[in-house]
């Protein structure tokens, strides 16, 4: 079970309170698919009608936003952490 997906509190009402899951996904896309297969009620909260990751949901691989890593096709290795974090605007103007 090489990869851990951490689930924010707001999503846990769709995961029966589960805060994280382990999976053996090869890419971020696979990991998200694993997550939403296990918790189907999450699907529409993770992806929009066009199938894109929702605009205000940020996905991180360890410390990095996946958009800097080539998007959801980026590959995972054993021990990686995938974080889902709501996009919260900054401290500035």
């Amino acid at each position: 079970m090489p990869v851990t997906i951490e689930i924010p509190t707001a999503f846990r009402r769709f995961t029966d309170g589960t805060p994280k899951i382990d999976c053996s996904a090869a890419t971020i896309a696979d990991a998200l698919n694993d997550l939403t297969t296990r918790f189907p009620a999450l699907s529409r909260h993770v992806r929009d009608e066009q199938g894109q990751i929702r605009q205000f949901l940020n996905v991180y691989l360890n410390e990095e936003d996946i958009r800097f890593l080539g998007g959801e096709g980026c590959t995972l290795k054993e021990g990686d952490r995938v974080l889902l974090v709501p996009s919260i605007a900054g401290g500035c103007v």
Binding site: R54, E63, V85, S87, I88, G90, C92, V93
Partner: protein, 417 residues
């Protein structure tokens, strides 16, 4: 709703009453405070303002406050400067600078947002407040938390300007320096708000916080004699302020306090961190996040959560977004200081420099009324321009020494010609 305001989702429209939450748990989009304007229209009149002090609390009815609200210290009420010299320099006629470089108590527009956030923090029972910050917000949280009796804990990127760190520490706030950029700090704070019962002003109190920005818009309209400008140029980091000024103008029209008119919104960024202006200029559906690299650290947010809304507003209003280089930022800081006597921080240099660029591009016409939003004070980012002004040689306290000095200066000036 029993109160005149509550939280609503900006995307799906679902309402969430009043609570310390910042995003819709259905679609993860940001929440904002929505008002019962029909009720407000019946009770809130422009005449009510007569006799009230000129600060942000004069617009209390249009902010998310409680009925028994008592205004704390004066915040906002900053000058709208008719910038005639700068206008002449740029070849335009009606230019105004909204000068939040002198906003009280901590010399940036962030005092406005913290003011409304701390009212919400009290309401929701928080005793500790905090924020993720590029500096100005930390200053504002620390100062107002001290005055209003909260414990403060602020999170900042480790490489922040020393003046901004000092200006937070002095108020007794706990400062947590994070090895990372602002976007890393922001992500951490989202996780902290998820776990700790703290009032993080720009995280779980964000909808209430950002409403404070509207007061800059109300003041601009009032100071123009209750009319709206043709153009507003606003710095963009998270991309919130530009939308809140638009919201303020819209509300004034709804309340019948100003005549409706189209206002073009222009966004300003530093080229070294310009996801929103890049998105506007390349007509992207979604902006692309960037790794910030600019002296304008208070604008250095590479993943602006209000970016999509800012892009939409700019496009729909007929405005534009632009960005300028770090040397251009320094030039613009100097220009604003040397024409209008206003010393702004790097973010203000961005706004002034972008305004110049927009005028040169013909996007701002000479006869139109243009307001430039200056959001912070130059004393906070002296590092950015210190090298421009090396210390001169000291002279003896004697008249002959001064005369020799003058002679040498004339010689230097003549040689330069």
């Amino acid at each position: 709703m029993s109160e005149t305001y509550q939280l609503g989702c900006r995307e799906c429209g679902k309402t969430w009453e009043n609570a310390p939450r910042s995003f819709c748990e259905d679609c993860f989009s940001p929440l904002e405070v929505i008002y019962d304007y029909d009720s407000l229209k019946k009770t809130v009149r422009r005449e009510n303002l007569v006799g009230r002090d000129f600060n942000m609390w004069r617009y209390a009815e249009m902010l998310p406050l409680s009925e028994d609200f008592v205004a704390p210290n004066a915040v906002g009420g900053t000058p709208l400067v008719a910038a005639r010299k700068l206008a002449a320099h740029w070849g335009i006629e009606n230019l105004y600078v909204k000068n939040d470089a002198v906003c009280f108590p901590s010399l940036s527009f962030k005092d406005r947002v913290v003011s409304t956030a701390l009212v919400a923090a009290r309401r929701f029972g928080f005793t500790t407040v905090g924020c993720s910050s590029t500096g100005n917000l930390a200053n504002a949280v620390a100062a107002q938390a001290a005055q209003r009796g909260f414990d403060a804990c602020v999170f900042i990127p480790a490489d922040l300007e020393p003046a901004k760190v000092l200006n937070t520490a002095v108020y007794g706030a706990r400062i947590v320096r994070i090895n990372g950029n602002y976007d890393h700090v922001n992500r951490l704070c989202a996780q902290i708000a998820d776990k700790f019962a703290w009032g993080l002003v720009n995280v779980n109190l964000r909808p209430y916080y950002s409403e404070g920005s509207k007061t800059q818009g109300y003041e601009i309209a009032e100071q123009l004699g209750w009319r709206l400008p043709d153009n507003v140029v606003v710095p963009m980091a998270g991309g919130s302020l530009i939308g809140k000024i638009a919201k303020a103008f819209k509300e004034l029209v709804i309340l019948g306090w100003v005549e409706p008119k189209p206002v073009k919104f222009f966004g300003a960024q530093a080229t070294g961190c310009s996801p929103i202006s890049d998105g506007v200029k390349r007509d992207l559906a979604r902006f692309e996040p960037q790794k910030p690299n600019t002296i304008a650290r208070s604008l250095a947010i590479g993943n602006p959560a209000d970016g999509p809304f800012a892009m939409k507003l700019i496009r729909e209003s007929g405005g534009w977004a632009e960005d300028i280089s770090d040397p251009e930022i320094v030039d613009a800081i100097k220009l604003l200081a040397q024409t209008e006597g206003i010393f702004t921080e790097t973010a203000g240099g961005v706004t002034a420099g972008v305004t110049q660029k927009l005028i040169q591009q013909g996007r701002i016409s000479p006869q139109e009324t243009t307001v430039v939003s200056i959001t912070g004070n130059g004393l906070k980012t002296t590092d950015a321009i210190a090298s421009e002004y090396p210390l001169t040689e000291a002279i003896a306290p004697r008249l002959d020494a001064f005369e020799a000095y003058l002679e040498s200066q004339f010689a230097v000036a003549a040689a330069a010609k």
